[in-house]
């Protein structure tokens, strides 16, 4: 086993907590920061402290938020009457970056997963219910992932929206753009076929 000095060992351990970073990468990162880029290390430490202190959650959409007013809950977005439900902040960023959708969001911070003890209460779906009952939302777009749990969550959300008399839609699943039918899995093809639209 490697025998690092205490401070180095603490730094490497802390870097290992980052997702996708194993012992070798952590050592490489630590040595790189100490050896070649101390300025980057200082910036990282400052940015971490700053982010921890300054980034909270929006009470309405639950996206990360650091200002008084959440940038995804502006009156302009509210006026559109659309609400897109996603599983994670990364999903929200992907939709913002890749599509022209500029309505409101609701971040579930997970998905329904009874086996892991994650039910509607754990996801805080009562917050979503309140948003729906406010009456601003005309359409709820469910953009959970097309996994078993994501689909179950979508079904539950659809029922919720119907109970609140809000129109609900699900993003389309099918063959990805540029994909070749030959190499697409059967489940996706089945979805693509059953979700066919008039040409």
């Amino acid at each position: 086993m490697n025998n690092y000095s205490p401070r180095l060992s603490r730094l490497i351990e802390a870097l290992r907590k980052l997702p996708g970073v194993g012992p070798k990468s952590a050592q490489r990162m630590a040595f790189h920061l100490l050896d070649r880029d101390r300025a980057a290390a200082e910036k990282l430490a400052a940015a971490l402290g700053d982010a921890l202190g300054g980034i909270g959650r929006c009470k309405t959409c639950r996206m990360f938020c650091e200002d008084e007013a959440c940038r995804y809950c502006t009156p302009a977005r509210r006026a559109g009457g659309q609400l897109c439900v996603v599983e994670t902040p990364a999903d929200l960023m992907a939709l913002e970056a890749g599509t022209s959708y500029r309505g409101r969001y609701f971040v579930l911070m997970g998905r329904l997963s009874p086996l892991d003890g994650i039910g509607p209460a754990e996801l805080g779906l009562s917050v979503l219910q309140e948003v729906l009952l406010e009456g601003d939302v005309q359409e709820m777009i469910v953009a959970t992932n097309p996994t078993v749990e994501g689909e179950a969550t979508a079904y539950y959300l659809a029922e919720m929206a119907k109970a609140a008399k809000v129109k609900v839609s699900r993003i389309a699943h099918g063959v990805p753009m540029g994909g070749e039918l030959e190499y697409v899995d059967g489940g996706t093809l089945t979805h693509a076929l059953s979700g066919r639209t008039p040409a």
Copy 2:
């Protein structure tokens, strides 16, 4: 392009400076830290600050060092009379972890590379020369990498050691343990053949 809030953007930029981390990984790391593991983020910030403040370089061997006395320059190691020259701190850690060598080290922090403007002065080889002239070192083991630049560095170091009347050796290059001759490159095979030892 993604449109992060300022603090989040600074955090992601800072994480991107880590070796091997691109924009997607940096976003994933930032979201992970903010969303699921704020304690890890705090620890990382503290460990970075601590390491920057507390980890310096040993004046003799140039390995990272945080105490008064460098752990690789102890009198016990000095007594062995061996000095191993490596390119980077990671190489030193690999030798410490994988071998039973417990002599002294000298970390070059690079290799001779005239095209990049790195000559003996830039590597600070005068420090090594002083160590050699002290008279404690009986054998200098050159463990630079078997690359063109590493070999050139090894040649230069050997000349230095000979001038200081110190015995010099180079680590063996050949077929790695568990490797199969069939899949080993020609350069390695040539080294293995010319470096053959009596059985």
